[in-house]
């Protein structure tokens, strides 16, 4: 029979979204709903001298004005950090409202609840807070020096130091014996995730029974439910969390936020529905940021340019508090600073430090873009040292296709890969040699437009995550995923998944998987998700995990359904269970294809239960909690081509080629969409975006008018290719693709910029490579040959 998997099925999610009938959190209207607004600190670091709520509380339509002192009995615990990466990690308490001291501009100090958003907003202005401003620490290296403390009651800004040094002596020896070494410093600027839907939450007390329904723009309804119970002391089984349509996340909605906890506490206090809708100006300050790292990256290599050791030291900006997985983000990259290369000795150390800036946390790629950037910049530097082409240095160092499964010196087992094939495909698609020839010609004629070609080869860890491995990393939860498959009496199928999509098209892809497994039509499969009253168990959507783990859970549940159906069919056939085969949506006895029992007949039999074997329960349903045995390791090669104006420093990204290998593809239409979006977010980091703070800790890029999210006019048409190297870890051979584009893109673009300016002697450009930075680099370049007229 034909399979649906691998075809470009159009998304079933689209109809509601395209007609304006999909419901996002802010579209939910509850009668009697109250509106919460937060009073936020204008200072990055200050002592709260006093808060006077009298005037605000007396304003029309205001129901309550509350501070931390008023709410001290409403919370059992501070907001959670689920990843204590070391036993001695410093984690200052992070309560929903600050008391005593504020630690970043945007830190909330009071909450107003009113009958309308306008009344709440007016009352926020009426709350009088007296602050005594304290020195703020913004710069990461200043923070590391402890010259100014981000939290006055801490003795150091360092939260933790996490080493991954399996064999320090081997690393020392490799550097001592090296023919070539590279030592570079890279800065990963802070980024603002900027999902187009800001956050929002709406909590509804049910009329009886003491239950609460929490609607939130979240990626993690299941995790949020657990944490809301812990923080507020409300019994977990009295909580229902719903993530309705969610307008993008990119990691920023993978958190437990003050506003979620506050609205639940307020709804409990006021016995009324309470909603909070984030404004963009709040989103840029009170929703987590991403990246924010300084990397010291060293390579040792032999005389042929083969890398013998990688040593990476990272300082990571935690921001003012540790959010849900803040300290663990750098660790997710910490195992792959050697990338796609066969490197025998490995060392990685990360120090997490506090600053008086918005907390950081996972942002698309979470640690892996940082690692990939470091190794892909460094290997280009090595190519320059050795005097070979960037392509050649990569070929010499790739883990070869016959080496998989490959045990890395960092301690991982890469499941499958063929990096050489991806590189060749990318070079073919680019027309690499022709471009190099054109570059040589241009350089000869001193062309004012500098042509640059940049390559990036990446591997990433997806399929988060084997629970036992997470335990070794001190992560506070598991990495399994849950699914339930119910074949209904009429042979329509309901699939309940623990994944929580927010643009990834799970409803379509999961239905395709079930259609293939059970031999039913895609349209006969309904996918249910993101409501804990419907999907009881799950660990949600982040880290490109949903297909590799959640999709596999669905496969396992389907297999259980088929096994049960075989027992029922065997009973009907009066044959041995072991002789029953299932294909094309029907059961038959091996060797007698004429006797056929289609799935609908079995499903109905399971429902009536009139004639089931003794040991079989009624109903054709099964569930599975699947815990992966290993991560999956998608990879790819990206090529960026830039033209730089020698007079102005303006960069035109003229071409972008991406060859990605995410294993088998369930729906290539969706895979391509994920790559498109991911690549553009990587390009955005390379060329456009940066969260800029001034010395006092004021965010200078607090709106979409100041923070440069690229528009359609700022990015090129992307040229995509792919290779297919199935994963042996997952039954479908899939790996994951949500973050691949972001991981590959930034180093490809920056390598292209540096390649363009190489004749001038430029070897470094910080991100974002703005025209001003490029112009300065050209001005300050050691030689002016060929440019800057």
């Amino acid at each position: 029979m034909t399979t649906v998997i691998g075809t470009r099925v159009l998304r079933r999610e689209d109809q509601a979204l395209l007609t304006g009938t999909a419901r996002f959190v802010d579209d939910i209207r509850i009668p009697g709903m109250l509106h919460a607004k937060l009073v936020r600190s204008p200072f990055a670091h200050a002592r709260i001298a006093s808060i006077d709520t009298t005037e605000a509380a007396a304003m029309p339509g205001v129901r309550a004005v509350l501070t931390a002192a008023d709410l001290q009995d409403d919370f059992e615990t501070p907001l959670p950090c689920a990843w204590p990466v070391t036993p001695d990690m410093v984690n200052p308490p992070h309560w929903p409202l600050a008391s005593g001291e504020v630690h970043y501009a945007g830190d909330a100090v009071a909450v107003v609840v009113a009958d309308s958003p306008a009344a709440a907003r007016d009352a926020v202005e009426g709350v009088v807070v007296e602050y005594e401003e304290l020195p703020a620490v913004v710069d990461l290296e200043d923070a590391l020096s402890d010259s100014v403390l981000a939290h006055s009651d801490l003795s150091s800004n360092t939260s933790y130091t996490w080493p991954l040094t399996p064999d320090p002596d081997a690393v020392e020896r490799a550097f001592a014996d090296a023919a070539f070494t590279v030592k570079e410093r890279y800065v990963h600027q802070r980024l603002i995730p900027m999902a187009i839907e800001p956050r929002g939450v709406c909590v509804v007390p049910e009329p009886y029974g003491g239950n609460f329904t929490v609607y939130s723009a979240t990626q993690i309804p299941h995790i949020l439910k657990v944490q809301l119970g812990i923080c507020t002391g409300l019994p977990e089984h009295k909580l229902r969390v719903v993530a309705p349509s969610v307008g993008g996340g990119f990691g920023s909605k993978l958190d437990v936020y003050s506003e979620e906890v506050l609205c639940l506490a307020l709804a409990r206090r006021l016995r009324a529905p309470v909603r909070w809708t984030e404004e963009r100006g709040e989103n840029t300050q009170a929703t987590v940021h991403g990246r924010g790292q300084i990397q010291e990256m060293e390579l040792a290599a032999d005389a042929d340019g083969r890398i013998t050791a990688v040593r990476a030291n990272v300082v990571a900006d935690m921001g003012a508090y540790l959010q849900l997985v803040t300290p663990g983000v750098p660790l997710l990259g910490g195992f792959i600073y050697h990338g796609v290369y066969d490197v025998p000795a490995y060392s990685f150390t990360c120090t997490g430090v506090f600053t008086n800036c918005t907390p950081t946390d996972a942002y698309r790629g979470a640690g892996r873009p940082e690692a990939t950037y470091a190794i892909e910049r460094a290997i280009d530097a090595l190519a320059r040292e050795v005097g070979v082409d960037p392509v050649e240095i990569r070929r010499r160092n790739f883990i070869t296709a016959d080496a998989f499964p490959y045990q890395t010196s960092a301690g991982l087992t890469y499941d499958s890969g063929n990096y050489g094939a991806a590189l060749e495909a990318a070079l073919d698609l680019t027309g690499y040699q022709a471009l190099r020839d054109e570059q040589a010609t241009r350089r000869e004629r001193n062309d004012s437009k500098h042509l640059g070609i940049g390559i990036s080869a990446y591997v990433e860890m997806c399929g988060l995550a084997p629970s036992r491995l997470l335990s070794q990393l001190s992560f506070g939860a598991g990495g399994w995923e849950h699914a339930e498959v119910r074949v209904l009496p009429t042979c329509k199928v309901e699939v309940v998944t623990g994944t929580a999509p927010h643009g990834q098209g799970h409803e379509t892809s999961w239905a395709m998987i079930v259609a293939d497994k059970l031999g039913v039509a895609v349209d006969d499969v309904e996918v249910l998700h993101s409501d804990t009253a419907i999907s009881h168990l799950g660990l949600d959507t982040y880290g490109s995990r949903s297909l590799a783990v959640g999709g596999t859970a669905i496969c396992v549940a389907c297999d259980k359904v088929i096994e049960k159906a075989k027992a029922i069919a065997a009973h009907q056939f009066e044959a041995a269970e072991a002789d029953i085969e299932f294909s094309g949506g029907a059961f038959h006895v091996r060797g007698t294809p004429s006797r056929v029992l289609p799935l609908p007949a079995v499903a109905f039999e399971a429902f009536t239960a009139h004639n089931l074997p003794d040991h079989i329960e009624p109903n054709l349903t099964a569930s599975a909690s699947y815990d992966p045995e290993n991560f999956t390791f998608p990879f790819g090669v990206h090529v960026a081509v830039v033209e730089i104006d020698g007079d102005t420093g303006e960069i035109e990204l003229t071409r972008y080629v991406a060859v990605d290998d995410c294993g088998n593809q369930v729906n290539p239409l969706i895979v391509e969409g994920q790559v498109h979006g991911g690549v553009v977010q990587g390009i955005a980091q390379a060329l456009y975006e940066e969260a800029v703070y001034d010395e006092a800790g004021q965010l200078r890029t607090a709106s979409l008018a100041d923070y440069l999210v690229p528009s359609a006019a700022d990015v090129p048409n992307l040229e995509l290719g792919h290779t297919v190297t199935p994963s042996p870890v997952t039954p479908l051979g899939v790996k994951g693709v949500g973050e691949a584009g972001t991981i590959g893109a930034a180093p490809a673009v920056i390598n292209a910029v540096i390649d363009a300016l190489a004749p001038l002697g430029v070897t470094d450009i910080e991100m974002p490579a703005s025209p001003q930075r490029v112009w300065r680099a050209m001005r300050d370049a050691p030689t002016t040959a060929g440019g800057g007229r």
Binding site: R11, A16, T19, E197, H676
Partner: protein, 156 residues
Amino acid sequence: MRVDITVNGAAQEHEVEPRMLLVQYLRDTVGLTGTKVGCDTSSCGACTVLVDGESVKSCTMLAAQADGASVTTIEGLASNGALHPVQQAFHEHHGLQCGFCTAGMVMATVSLLAEHPDPTEADVRNGLEGNLCRCTGYQNIVKAALAAAQSSGARP
């Protein structure tokens, strides 16, 4: 103050606060929540609607300014259950992922194609510059807009 606004072909009369924005009027007074709010600086374009056929960011216009006008929102685009050609093209070319920018992006595309019935890729990219999308990298939005231009009846 009283405003008379025709929304998706239906005459509406409401008392509104003078400071009420058109987008708030559409979402909160008329109850059409398909039009989204994504920023407070008129940068993202999620709130784009048509006012007398012209695309407008409805967060930059007061409801009072739309008095007497005819407004079309995403809810008014499909007719008799059939998607508008621009909506259909977004579906066929996977021009949306999370769908939050989609209403504004579709309305901006309808307006763009009314002005440029046969646009180049550059026309589309420049024409949609005022609408931000964080999911798609714009590639399939551009593809959808060009395909909609090719299909008949793409004009509003």
